[in-house]
């Protein structure tokens, strides 16, 4: 019964909703891709460094694909979207912008001739946060993209189908790592539990409801956020329990990102990311 939509057949109301959806998808992708690539070259072991870097590249590629869809709908070109917008214009959740640093990562950082963010990562960074975030994100990403494979907005459905294989690997990698790290040593169990506790409220922010949810769901373009969240919880609960981790309950989700309200972490991340591009915003790099 649903219509099939293309850029030309969207009503103005649907178009506004699709644009908002695409910003959420694209901004989540570029920001988590950026974060995960901070580990490239300094990962916990060479083989895992390589694997994690690939997932970061994939997410940047997904971001580009979504930015291209936005450009088709009359928004600026992809590089300008990634590098010229301020934090308030980003629609990612706070979860993807979180740094890899534990809450107690204070103190001076020696000058290691990296950028300051990387210096801090090298001195204080904790892989357990990165991997736990990756696991929780990937589980949501796979559910969301799987649902979008049958989106009535055809350009989006095409992308969702195209990236299915990449996401399947992200899932294999994240689930395997989670199981290994949560069951490995006392130390690794403890780190993974702490990481879960600290990132979980932000992870719920992946499913922050928006004013467009009903419109998108009714038009068959995207599943509702609350529906996705329930599916996600149903999915990760046995996986976390199977790995011996205690899933936090009665958690207050961290919302705001989908409305452009962000903390310092995204502002700092964008300052890093956009620094060179903004030196010559009309130039070719």
């Amino acid at each position: 019964m649903s219509d099939k939509y293309t850029p030309d057949t969207l009503t103005p109301e649907l178009k506004a909703a699709v644009i908002d959806l695409l910003y959420r998808l694209a901004d989540d992708s570029i920001v988590i891709g950026h974060r995960n690539s901070e580990w490239t070259g300094i990962g916990p072991i060479l083989e895992e460094d390589i694997a994690f870097s690939s997932t970061a590249q994939d997410k940047m590629g997904h971001a580009l694909a979504f930015y291209n869809l936005l450009h088709e709908l009359g928004e600026p070109k992809p590089d300008d979207l990634a590098f010229l917008r301020d934090a308030k214009d980003f629609r990612c959740c706070s979860f993807v912008a979180m740094s890899h640093l534990p809450a107690n990562a204070e103190g001076d950082v020696p000058e290691l001739m990296n950028n300051p963010t990387r210096n801090r990562l090298i001195v204080h960074g904790d892989w357990s946060i990165s991997l736990m975030r990756q696991f929780l994100f990937v589980e949501a990403d796979v559910l969301r993209m799987h649902a979008l494979e049958s989106s009535t907005y055809q350009p989006l459905a095409a992308i969702a189908r195209k990236i299915r294989g990449e996401l399947k690997y992200h899932l294999m990698h994240a689930e395997s790592m989670l199981r290994h790290l949560a069951t490995g040593t006392d130390e690794s169990r403890k780190r993974m539990q702490q990481a879960l506790n600290s990132v979980y409220p932000h992870a719920l922010g992946l499913f922050e409801p928006t004013q467009h949810d009903k419109t998108l769901a009714n038009a068959g373009i995207a599943p509702g956020e609350t529906h996705l969240r329930d599916e996600w919880i149903e999915h990760i609960t046995p996986l976390l329990a199977g790995a011996g981790l205690r899933q936090p309950t009665d958690v207050e989700p961290v919302f705001g990102g989908r409305k452009g309200r962000h903390g310092d972490e995204l502002v700092a991340l964008l300052a890093d990311m956009q620094k060179i591009y903004r030196m010559e915003p009309t130039g070719t790099w």
């Binding site: 072991i45 060479l46 083989e47 895992e48 390589i50 694997a51 870097s53 690939s54 690997y169 294999m172 990698h173 395997s176 290994h180």
Partner: protein
């Protein structure tokens, strides 16, 4: 200082269905499951691939290069090759000129 030195898995990849698996290198991994995850990105992130095998290196038994002469042929073994026969000519002589 030395900590966990993971074991070595040899990696074989198959570029397309129907082709044989070819040895492409090895990875350090704690188990086969992780070895597959690591091998996929280290050895198949560019080239076409449809299937990967990983095998614990210590599960492989090999000949030595010193014994490479066991593969040499000391005497004429052409009797077990098609090219060792002139049967096309001989078949024609007995009246069979169709393909062998």
């Amino acid at each position: 200082m030395t900590d966990t030195q993971w074991q070595v898995f040899e990696v074989f990849h198959q570029p397309v269905r129907g082709e044989p698996h070819v040895h492409v290198g090895s990875v350090h991994a704690p188990d086969a499951e992780t070895a597959i995850l690591m091998a996929k990105e280290q050895f198949a992130r560019r080239q076409a691939c449809v299937n990967i095998w990983v095998v614990r290196a210590d599960a492989i038994t090999a000949t030595t290069y010193e014994d490479a002469d066991i593969f040499e042929h000391g005497t004429d073994k052409s009797y077990r090759e098609a090219f060792g026969y002139e049967t096309t000519k001989r078949a024609k002589a007995v009246g069979d000129s169709a393909e062998l």
